[in-house]
Amino acid sequence: MTTDNQLDFTFSDLIAGYVVEHDPQRGSVRLRTSDGRTFTARLSETMSAEFLRNLGDPYLDASAHVPDLLTPGRHVFAYGVFSPPGNDFEVKRLVFLGRRPGEYNFEEPNWWVRQLDELAGFYRRAQFGDGPIDYADYRTTLRLGGDKTDVYVQETDTISRLIYGMASAYMLTGNEDYLDVAERGTGYLRDHMRFVDRDEGVTYWYHGIDVRGDAEHKLFTSEFGDDYDALPAYEQIYALVGPTQTYRVTGDPRIAADIDGTLRLFQRFFRDEHAGGYFSHIDPILLRPDHESLGPNRSRKNWNSIGDHAPAYLINLFLATGEQRHAAMLEETFDLICEHFPQQGSPFVQERFHADWSPDRAWGWQQDRAVVGHNLKIAWNLTRMNAIRPKQAYTELADRLARSMPDLGSDRQRGGWYDVLQRCLVGEENRHRFVWHDRKAWWQQEQAILAYLVLAGHTGDQDFLRHAREAESFYNAFFLDHDEGGVYFNVLASGIPYLLGTERLKGSHSMSMYHAAELCFLAAVYGRLLIRGEPLTLWFRPSPDGFPDRVLRVAPDVLPPGRVKLDRVEVDGRPYAGFDPDAMSVKLPDSTEPLTVQAHLAPARD
């Protein structure tokens, strides 16, 4: 019998659990993990103890209160050292998530609003300092502390994501500086990153520009490895993220025109008229999805080209306009997801396809691998879609994914959600193997939090609420960079920040305030309006020529009908009566100047 792989050495690790009992005599606490396993932890004389804090908050020492805080049912993180023999665990750091059992600091009404305010302030200073906003100074790449590097590239998608974050920050805080960043950014995209093809009647967006020296060098096709020398759908999709959110606020008709031009691009060149859905890439010259130059991207469809329209811009566009053509496009994409994405042989969805919807399990890095966050994103957005056009298929798939994912894709020991796993088990395996590592990415935590919050809000299911709270706990305990600002890209499984390579950056091709801001915005919406029955105020700034028929739609998200109403409206600080509480819309007065509208939303009483 082999004696290999004996764990007879010390190692540090994290336990996420609920207090079962505290033994002051022995100086120990017994914890139960999310999936019901128990651990006994010795409380070290030298351990630290703290309360969960938000970005911008000071350290909150809890060490003097530990005996009072270790009450049954309390959810805690215990970081410590396992030692042989017998895996003795000595706690070195305790994080308490709230003052009382069952209380969570992140459920304080303004938690997510304050966090978004801090994020917006960080990126505002990082990109433009405290002075005038000039996008000539914008850089995609930002170091850990927000400093710029000698990389002169401005990617369209990262500007768009920053715009989204700033527009969302304005909606939650009313800080007009954030809206200024968003509007100037939208104008910059229009002036520098947009190509209006008058022959074809479509709009498409450059990958980015290199601003080294006096002249800008436009990067027409993607410089990103997976999509090199092609026009990927997801880059065109994410070019709309920020402008669309800004459009919700201002109704600027120029934005609407650009969105419509890009939608025509999707409909005319990316859409598969025969088998449905949208191709993932087109070649940049002939605008064809089947051109041989596309190589492994030729005639393919993927999660991005089918499913990302909804969360990135299309739901927000529907919220802003109420137009049924957008609901129809949403319905088509979600019907295709329900029909093609679930596959026999794996609990995870299939994400890449050939034109005829046969699975592509040989593509690049993806092969036959699952991105945990995409499964959660599907559950989250199916639930939203069900509030627009209810279908049993939507709720069934959302429910199935949401109930299966914790055991498959989350860390039941430490909390948090994993990254990329093998879709299928091999041989006698009883867990899906990690493809590259067991680190946890910030954007994947967001998908889990929003999926379980929205499902808890729609259904009242307490299991969903528990998973939401556990995901919120891990994210807020370990991803907030209290030293430099912003959030960490990745943490180790135990919650320690991972700060190597591109994952050290606060600004990159992958990170630019979008996911962190979307999380803050929608966690506030779902948590306050749907789960805890609290009001929420959103800010809007319609321009004089904004919105057809001068109707401002202020619904914060697509919510279950009748659950939330527009309670009060203020226009330029004065009460205003011209609104529909059930439709959550405001009939704007005529104006020659932009108006400031505060929409006070509240849970509808029975």
Binding site: D199, E200, I285, L286, L287
Partner: protein, 111 residues
Amino acid sequence: MQIDRQMTGEVVVLSLEGELDSRSAPQAQSEIAELVPQDGKIVLDLSGTTYLSSAGLRVMLLTYRQAREAGTRLVLAAVPADVLDVMSATGFLDFFTVSDTVQAGLGVLQR
């Protein structure tokens, strides 16, 4: 759009006369494709090109790609100012080597 082909030594000189827009682009693309040599040298003389639409821009890019794949060196010559503006503003000009005259273009290719 009319395309005229001449040889100057080993260099193929293609002169594009007229408007290159969505109507003329498919035919122009087809003709140019047949005239791009393998492992050769080519000058696109745009002195007679009076208008270049986005379809025309894509013909330029396609020619650039085809030449690159064929191992052929390509120079744009005598590009009218307004056409140059369009190509520059859209970033398409960066793909090309550009010379003021056909003669200058021939000189570039002889280096």
